[in-house]
Symmetry: C2
Subunit: 96 residues, 2 copies
């Protein structure tokens, strides 16, 4: 999957179709909320396996039952297909 | 282990004896750096099991091979024995 930064208008259009995500400081951003720490960290573990397989890793912060995720592609200097792909996978993992 | 905030002078004394940790914004803070994402997330997984067992959870952020940790005890309004205990356990987990 190409590590080429997508044009801003393309990013904005796609973000609008990605439940829960928004743009923040040049990254895709979503705050996930779970039932408790076990659920939050289970989500992170599943997402970590996918991230490692894709060699594309999130910037994320966990505080108890919340996980804040920021996705961008450092070496492309923007948001790429990889970010949207990982965001979509995370949404599937976090779906009830 | 008591969830009672320790006096600031006691906290400062102990932080000085805890390799890698400092005080930041009322929390114990350490930035861990690992070889790669697999090592960083392996550390987090081990620490998560300990945190859950203690019912005392970190505020932490992972970006690729780094993990920034902030420890404080919300319901005590400060830093407690629990924080020093978890910090110490994390140091053991992260030791080469």
């Amino acid at each position: 999957m190409a590590r080429v930064a997508l044009p801003l208008d393309e990013v904005q259009k796609r973000v609008g179709n990605l439940a829960g995500w928004s743009m923040a400081d040049g990254a895709l951003y979503r705050r996930f909320e779970f039932k408790d720490f076990v659920q939050a960290f289970s989500f992170m573990t599943a997402a970590a396996l996918i991230a490692e397989a894709k060699n594309h890793h999130p910037d994320w912060r966990n505080v108890y039952r919340t996980v804040e995720v920021r996705l961008s592609t450092h070496d492309a200097g923007g948001i790429t297909e990889l970010d949207f792909d990982l965001a979509q996978r995370m949404n599937v993992l976090a779906a009830p």
